[in-house]
């Protein structure tokens, strides 16, 4: 069975990613990472077009993530892993956890209840990693001691880095068409007009929820030890993708089962 990648998904992904990075860079000017929540509220309530800019950045980021998942599924159906050497395929696969991490750090930097929860959980999980945990935490999070400074840097470096490197190497960034940018910008702008981006004030609530795509891991953390729920479980799809060529049918089944489990866990977490 042959499957062709849909160009509008691929170019939509590139356009959304570019829009997310550009709008993020614009939003970063009035943002002061020393006062994350005050800055975010300032952008939202004081800065002209600020709430629109923030929502636009948020929704283009979400589009990037969703289109990346779609693109990844299409690539697997297209047997893209067979046409590339392992190292090259592994690098392509790595864009998925890197973009997820960029998206995740974006939640941390806003400094609200969700961001605080996300930062704390991520820091605790990173510190559980053997050998590299401490270094990884110092590079990406360290929110308990230093606030959102490192998460902010990671958010910018990861987003710009992945865009530039994949834009030079995997697709031609300068080939992104103006029409594609306009269509995806219109879509994100329309959603931004209708759905305000969440921003929760810190509270005494004992039930805190992280970003939506993190709810599954958060739910699993209630039942399994952190190294299993926060390290082994999320590594399953990444490793399955990297070594997909070795046992395509078996690993496809693993990916389907993993995704199904994660959807159920996310639903359970959301309903709490």
């Amino acid at each position: 069975m042959s499957y062709r990648l849909r160009p509008w998904v691929s170019w939509g992904l590139a356009a959304s990613f570019l829009l997310a990075v550009v709008s993020g860079l614009l939003a970063s000017y009035p943002f002061h990472e020393a006062f994350p929540l005050i800055s975010t509220v300032g952008i939202e309530t004081v800065l002209p077009f600020g709430s629109f800019l923030r929502a636009f950045h948020f929704y283009t980021g979400q589009l990037t993530f969703l289109l990346l998942v779609w693109h990844l599924v299409e690539a697997l159906l297209n047997h893209a892993e067979r046409r590339r050497p392992l190292w090259r395929w592994s690098l392509l696969v790595s864009t998925f956890p890197l973009v997820t991490l960029a998206l995740f750090t974006g939640y941390i930097v806003r400094g609200d209840q969700t961001g605080l929860a996300a930062g704390q959980i991520a820091e605790h999980l990173a510190l559980r990693l053997p050998l590299i945990g401490l270094v990884l935490n110092r590079l990406l999070f360290a929110v308990a001691e230093e606030g959102v400074h490192r998460a902010f840097m990671a958010h910018i470096y990861l987003s710009v880095g992945v865009l530039v490197i994949s834009g030079l190497w995997h697709f031609r960034l300068r080939a992104v068409r103006l029409e594609d940018l306009a269509v995806w910008a219109t879509l994100a702008a329309a959603v931004s007009l209708v759905l305000p981006v969440s921003l929760e004030a810190p509270s005494f609530e004992t039930l805190i929820k992280g970003p939506w795509f993190f709810l599954g891991i958060q739910e699993l953390l209630r039942h399994l030890p952190p190294w299993l729920a926060g390290l082994v479980f999320p590594s399953i799809p990444v490793l399955s993708l990297v070594f997909f060529r070795l046992a395509p049918r078996g690993l496809a089944l693993v990916l389907v089962l993993w995704t199904g489990t994660y959807v159920i866990l996310t639903a359970l977490g959301a309903l709490r």
Binding site: L37, T45, V46, F49, T186, A189, L193, E200, F204
Partner: protein, 415 residues
């Protein structure tokens, strides 16, 4: 296709610009003195009293809502008008940073449960066997509100007594009934200056707040202030109108000498302890179990209540006991007369037996229920079948009957 997309893009852009032009923006990010963001202050000008100053507390810790937004709809999501309502009080007044522990205590207090009224009614009306325990499940105001359970006595309670409890939503009913209830603010709220646009929360509970409810049965709240609920018929008539003073609910009152504590400027909350009014974590059934301050607490008792608790306002100043009232005024406390009060023949007399020479007494109390009519069930908030009417034979303001309870001689007041 391209033309449609272009049109759509221009339309969305126009909407973005139009919305921005119409949008109210804050001049700055508002924070409290602790650095917490309170964007409510960008629009709201209300000024509560010092203890809850807007610059210190802000609005959202009490009224909830979303303090990070300025769009009316978003900012007001989940907002509550009365933070002291017992349904939400754990998230507001009783939150860990403010007054923790109080909601749990208050919810067990008699003013929140009304257990005594319910138990007495059901027992006297024969709905509960004499040997039944006084504390029965399902027989508190809140439980009756949720269960909808009713009987003849409970129907009477729901319709005639159902507004004198802390679970009543403030402002739910019109007129003077709307002033009652509201959880903590049933006692702790007084009107503020109009210019400040916010009522005042106070620990100095005025007598009027207590007597919104405590004005029937023994009429203690009225007598304390020097008011006697008489028949009167509104007499004397002045220029064709009723000349007598009236209470908010329309009852006529005559002026009588007020209690000397009232004359001295003491309010109910100067004598009654927080453990009595707001509960001491125990769930009592009757008032006499809950109340612990006695005359002897101040007069000859060295400031100890009958439960052995030290009265927080009784203290020693220059070798003598004084009571420092809520307004900060000190009242020297007189010891009981060593001859009259401590004489062996008066050993069994309660203080009131001598010091309450006249009390209001309501004789011939009876009620009637008309099943053809409907009446507002104040716990359910809707009209239900059966309308109650109260009658009495006559009111008197005279020397009370003395009776014996246990080993004590008390006054007995029909009310």
């Amino acid at each position: 296709m391209k033309r449609y997309l272009l049109f759509l893009g221009i339309l969305v852009l126009a909407l973005v610009i139009g919305r921005e032009a119409l949008r109210h923006r804050a001049p700055k990010v508002y924070t409290t003195t602790s650095g917490r963001i309170e964007m409510c202050l960008a629009c709201h000008e209300e000024k509560p009293e010092k203890a809850h100053a807007r610059e210190v507390v802000g609005c959202s810790p009490c009224h909830l809502g979303d303090p990070l937004r300025i769009d009316r709809q978003l900012a007001h999501r989940g907002i509550i008008k009365n933070p002291a309502d017992l349904r939400v009080v754990e998230k507001t007044c009783g939150q860990p940073a403010c007054h923790p522990g109080y909601p749990e205590r208050v919810k067990k207090s008699l003013m929140a449960t009304n257990r005594g009224i319910i138990d007495t009614l059901r027992r006297y009306w024969g709905e509960v066997p004499a040997h039944a325990p006084a504390k029965r499940p399902g027989e508190t105001v809140r439980e009756l509100m949720l269960s909808g359970e009713t009987s003849l006595a409970l129907d009477y309670f729901r319709k005639l007594c159902g507004t004198c409890h802390l679970w009543l939503e403030k402002g739910k009913y019109p007129g003077f009934l709307g002033e009652k209830g509201g959880g903590c603010v049933a006692c702790h709220l007084v009107p503020g200056e109009k210019a400040k646009k916010h009522p005042v929360l106070t620990r100095r509970i005025p007598v009027e707040n207590c007597t919104r409810c405590h004005n029937r049965s023994g009429r203690i709240g009225l007598t304390y202030q020097g008011l006697y609920e008489d028949e009167g018929y509104g007499a004397p008539l002045v220029e064709g109108e009723f000349g007598a003073e009236t209470l908010e609910d329309g009852r006529f009152v005559d002026l009588i000498p007020p209690d000397l504590h009232y004359k001295a400027g003491l309010t109910c909350a100067d004598c009654h302890l927080p453990e009595e009014t707001m509960g001491d974590e125990k769930e009592y059934v009757h008032f006499e179990e809950s109340v612990e301050v006695t005359c002897e607490t101040c007069h000859g008792g060295q400031g100890l209540t009958r439960k052995g608790r030290r009265h927080p306002k009784v203290m020693e100043k220059e070798g003598r006991l004084v009571l420092k009232d809520n307004a900060g005024k000190e009242h020297p406390l007189k010891a009981p007369d060593p001859v009259k009060c401590r004489h062996e023949v008066h050993r069994r007399l309660s203080c009131q037996a001598c010091h309450a020479p006249r009390v209001p007494q309501c004789f011939g109390c009876h009620v009637r229920r008309d099943p053809r009519e409907t009446q507002l069930d104040k716990l359910a908030g809707r009209e239900t079948a059966g309308a109650w009417e109260e009658f009495r034979s006559y009111m008197r303001y005279e020397t009370p009957t003395l009776g014996v309870k246990g080993d004590e001689v008390l006054i007995i007041v029909p009310g």
